[in-house]
């Protein structure tokens, strides 16, 4: 196996690159999910914000 990989160094580069890309893809995927969670918090807060704003607004 080691002899085969030493004969084909580009395959070692391939394995390392795939590992790096898997890490980046996983990180980006988790980052996307965290943003979805933040958006949920924002949408939950938004109605209360608008109700408190309308309650405190002098025009209403």
């Amino acid at each position: 196996m080691i002899e085969y990989l030493s004969d084909h160094p580009h395959l070692v580069v391939l394995v390392v690159t795939i590992v790096i890309w898997s890490g980046i893809a996983l990180y980006l995927w988790r980052l996307g999910r965290r943003i979805v969670e933040l958006e949920k918090i924002a949408t939950q807060r938004r109605p209360s914000d608008s109700s408190s704003r309308s309650a405190s607004s002098p025009s209403t």
């Binding site: 580009h10 580069v13 391939l14 690159t17 980006l28 996307g32 943003i35 807060r45 914000d49």
Partner: protein, 345 residues
């Protein structure tokens, strides 16, 4: 043919990436980006680069070379216990000595991969890794580049994505000037930051390649200088953005982004082509570079296909990143405003 590959790749990326609007989260965009880039990495790094004896002769002026040469099934004929006669797929022949692990091997026991030592007196080269059976996929050998030709699949898509990001910044800045929507401003800033990230990636990958091909990380080449200037222009944009306090200042930044994208077009596509440069497609080059040249032999079909997959993958990766970076900016703005409102109340 290669233009068809580029157009198909970019069409897929644009339809999946922008089809439902850039701010709408979709899993397809992310999944396709991950798959296409993984396929592109495997396609770019797995196939062996295979040349001919002529490539080896050109490559080995006064120094030993080690390159893969594809030999047809009947391309090796034993002349004695150790000397063989070899013919490659182009029809060139050499007399050689087969060596594996520095030991002469018998001509009758031909392994799939072997080292051929030719006589240094009669031939220019004496280290060739021959491939006796054609692999199902392979890339052509380019004298002077060898294995370093694989940079095409990473460096060029990264540079393309950087430029695309700056154009998208310009378009959304124009839209912001027209509509004053917070979303357009968030997409413009997010696109500029991702564009700068990809331009830096292209710059670093190019510098590492240049160290091994041209001898130095930085060679005072026109394109190296023009992209450095481009990065300076966008760093100035981020400095401007960091000091924004009002909507009127945002409009100034949007105007700057439009002018910067015009400068990007000039610095990326025009300056390196009207001056002499080490990069392909410069004024002293015979064509406009392997990617864009209409000549058929400038880019092999396999390479064009893998390059198009990477082009589509990087474009989708950009649209995926743009989606959540812009959404993050909008949420951050929302929390900042609600926090400051609560604090001041």
């Amino acid at each position: 043919m290669k233009y068809a590959f580029y157009v198909a790749g970019l069409a897929v990326a644009i339809i999946v990436g922008w089809g439902k609007g850039i701010l709408r989260p979709t899993r397809w965009r992310a999944l396709l980006a991950i798959i296409l880039i993984a396929v592109g990495i495997i396609g770019g790094l797995y196939p062996p680069i295979v040349g001919t004896f002529q490539d080896a002769i050109v490559e080995s002026r006064g120094k030993p070379v080690s390159i893969n040469v594809l030999l047809p099934p009947n391309g090796i004929m034993p002349l004695s216990d150790s000397v063989i006669w070899c013919r490659d797929i182009s029809g060139s022949t050499v007399k050689a000595r087969m060596v594996k692990n520095n030991k002469t091997v018998m001509a009758q026991s031909i392994p799939q991969k072997l080292l051929i030592h030719t006589s240094p007196i009669t031939h220019d080269f004496f280290d060739i890794s021959s491939v006796t059976h054609a692999p199902w996929i392979m890339l052509p050998y380019i004298p002077g580049l060898g294995e370093r030709a694989r940079i095409l699949f990473f460096h060029v898509p990264a540079a393309w994505t950087g430029f695309l990001a700056y154009v998208i910044t310009m378009l959304y800045s124009l839209r912001y000037l027209r509509t004053s929507r917070e979303e357009d401003d968030a997409v413009a800033v997010a696109s500029a930051s991702i564009g700068t990230l990809f331009t830096i990636l292209a710059y670093i990958s190019g510098a590492i390649w240049a160290k091994f091909n041209w001898g130095h990380f930085f060679n005072w080449d026109t394109r190296e200088l023009s992209v450095l200037l481009l990065l300076a222009i966008y760093i100035a944009y981020f400095v401007l953005r960091a000091n924004i306090r009002s909507d009127a200042q945002k409009r100034v930044a949007a105007t700057y982004a439009i002018v910067a994208a015009v400068a990007a077009l000039f610095l990326i596509f025009i300056v390196p082509r009207i001056t002499t440069s080490l990069h392909p497609g410069s004024r002293d080059d015979t064509n406009i570079g392997p990617i864009l040249s209409p000549e058929q032999d400038t880019l092999d079909t396999t390479k064009a296909a893998i390059f198009s997959i990477m082009l589509a993958g990087f474009t989708l990766l950009y649209s995926w990143m743009l989606n959540f970076v812009a959404r993050y900016r909008l949420i951050a703005n929302y929390f900042q405003h609600s926090h400051s409102k609560t604090y001041h109340d």
